[in-house]
Homo-oligomer: 431 residues x 2
């Protein structure tokens, strides 16, 4: 029998040697890939294309995805969100109650059959099951408000799946749902969520270019809101007032809206954008359809006010990869980069001393909790630098015979391209 | 427009007030639920039943699931595993290559249709897509070994789905895959994984009752191995030698095996168990079917040795809930409990002082990073204690007028039932 040892080295998740990473960069993306985000992410080893619109997330890609999730999670928690996880398999009978089972009403359903008989759907959205579940937890006015969210893999049977991870058949979404007593409480939370979303986008490095955009409302509200980020390859067009940070989409670009917002058509600039979030006010429609109500102080049954709030996690990752890239590769914002530092050793004739020095710095960075990818591979400098530019980690630190002679480190900022020679202590000040 | 505030309170994930938690406990489980694990977990508010074999994980349940994942993640990282995440949607053509697309060969497929034409499968397992993907990353002997793992939601079209989260139609599994040069390297990693798995079970509190169990081997190996945990409600039966910590399953309980292992039939004890992990040696069969090979130093193409290693994360959670429970509810092991401390305030006539004291302790626990659920609800003591026992957090701390008079805290150990009066500083020593 194999002996059991309970002691073990503490795992160091924040550091990795590139010789250990199984992915390799590629010069070319697959020929069937047309989206810029997917081309970059596949070439750099972040994702793998399983089929059109369906991508696996490899070690570097999962790190980026998790960092985006964590930023969103912190901001949802900060406004009172409670995290849970619903299911992929969904009940036909439930979606029939809101008349959304039919393929003519919802055109992205994947459906399948249970061996025991009967059809089930695969979750393209989760407001019906969450509202139905809440019937078990909401009975009195004392139970409200409730805000819940999840990071869920959504499955959507898209006809067009040519946008890489910007619009997939399988993708990760953060969807939050609010359950409130009345319109006033609902509106207050809706507005807090707008703030929280903008905090998310600022932390992701796209705050300046992201606009809360007025769009057509539904039965319960004059306007709805989208979050749109300026992007050359974006699918949408919006009209922005940069100074006032106001934006409208085409649906509502009319005299009445402009008057409401106090802007004139000539002040607006037409820009291409990608949607990075959307929020909906359901009013009491869905609650009435599903029978979700609470008892007020008089004992009367009142339908719950509901809202839903989405951020496409993998979509945002795709947008960041496209928006922050140059001809050499990706330029990740610090907040989502898979690692903070890319340590690169250039091993020449006097190889052992360089290796030892690089290994020492790798250890120091790791001990300080600075996330570092260490390119310890036995490759030509040009290849290592090209890989580093493609992968797009914010700060590259080179150790070579030359830097050792000077007693310094060569630091390159991926974003600006600036190269400087710094001492180790100056590097730590920079980080 | 809504103003954007970038400052925000640091989120305190490790602490929660029960008045804020949307779930409530229930006296009765749904009448259609027959599994003991699901009854307990539903009553305590950990999970929600979407349909037979399909459960959502509510805030408390997601916390437990994440703790189990984190233990498994640390141990997989410690043996060199690289985490990634594959996809739910899977290619028919790929599974046809290994002759496992047919429902007659694999009887748990969920299948669906793309709008653009063609059938796709929903991932019940991932060895085919992972092996196929590795063809893009393995070319030379220098690329091996590779160990990758994921936490994936598996979908299996089970006919029987009456075991709660022990065997579901939708569940979370950790599946790891190894890619090695040859049998010797494969066997070494296979044995390291057995050790890592046993470390996982020890950390989950079931190490003593979990047996590496000899089962029938395949084409490439005499035995395969299962990990079986003694459980009254288990579906399996194995034969254990407690002193030697050896076990065999029924398939291989014969004279030859007993002789090999150096034990006699009369020394073995028959016990009911639940499987908590399994490992497979694929040899080179799957690599040959899919064309996954590497070039050796002579430039010859050699098929890769593959293994797969599974732990059902949600299954383990169900087992723990069943195995560690009594007539009052769940008794979580410390390592996976949703919180370390359940702080309960008993507010009588002199309510404000007790509330203030409880709030202060809640803050102190939070500041010290001790995970605490604070039952601040305005309910009778009996209800609060019953809820606390049902939810099963390891240490209950009660603050009441009585405890305040004594200048102590009432501490109850959920496992032993022992009640003691401790000072605050003694409580922190205990924790």
């Amino acid at each position: 029998m194999v002996a059991i040892f309970l002691s073990r080295a503490a795992p160091k998740k924040s550091a990795m040697k590139q010789s250990h990473l199984f992915t390799k960069t590629r010069k070319e993306a697959p020929t069937d890939e047309v989206a810029q985000n997917a081309k970059l992410l596949i070439r750099a080893g972040y994702i793998h294309k399983e089929m059109a619109g369906v991508y696996a997330y490899l070690p570097l890609g999962l790190r980026v995805q998790n960092k985006i999730k964590q930023i969103v999670r912190e901001e949802m928690d900060a406004i009172g969100g409670q995290e849970l996880i619903m299911t992929a398999l969904q009940s036909k009978e439930l979606w029939e109650k809101t008349k959304r089972w039919s393929d003519e009403v919802v055109d992205v359903w994947f459906k399948t059959n249970l061996k025991t008989g009967g059809e089930v759907g695969l979750g393209w959205s989760h407001e019906e099951p969450i509202a139905e579940m809440m019937k078990g937890y909401i009975s009195s006015f004392r139970d409200l408000p409730i805000f819940v969210y999840q990071f869920q893999t959504k499955l959507r049977n898209e006809v067009r799946a040519k946008s890489g991870i910007l619009r997939g058949r399988e993708f990760v979404m953060k969807d939050m749902y609010s359950f409130c007593l009345d319109e006033a409480d609902h509106t207050a939370f809706y507005n807090r969520t707008i703030d929280a979303y903008m905090r998310v986008y600022h932390r992701l490095g796209i705050g300046e270019d992201t606009f809360v955009t007025f769009a057509a409302g539904g039965a319960f509200t004059k306007f709805s809101h989208e979050f749109q980020t300026i992007a050359e390859t974006g699918e949408d067009v919006i009209y922005i007032h940069r100074a006032k940070k106001i934006a409208v989409n085409k649906e509502v670009l009319n005299d009445e809206t402009l008057k409401n917002l106090g802007v004139s058509r000539s002040e607006l600039e037409e820009v291409k954008t990608a949607e990075v979030g959307n929020i909906f006010n359901f009013g009491t429609q869905k609650s009435e359809d599903l029978g979700l109500s609470y008892k007020n102080e008089k004992g009367e049954a009142i339908p719950v006010w509901m809202g839903s709030y989405g951020i496409g996690i993998t979509r945002v990752m795709g947008l960041l990869a496209e928006k922050f890239s140059d001809e050499k590769g990706i330029v990740w914002p610090e907040s989502v980069a898979p690692f903070r530092v890319h340590l690169v050793s250039i091993v020449g004739a006097n190889g052992e001393a360089v290796k030892k020095e690089a290994e020492k710095l790798y250890q120091t960075l790791t001990d300080k909790g600075i996330e570092v990818l260490y390119d310890d591979r036995d490759l030509r400098p040009g290849e290592k630098f090209a890989d580093s530019d493609l992968i797009g980690i914010p700060t590259r630190v080179v150790i070579s015979e030359k830097t050792m002679k000077e007693g310094k480190l060569e630091i390159k900022d991926r974003k600006t391209g600036t190269v400087s020679m710094l001492s180790e202590s100056d590097l730590f000040k920079l980080l």
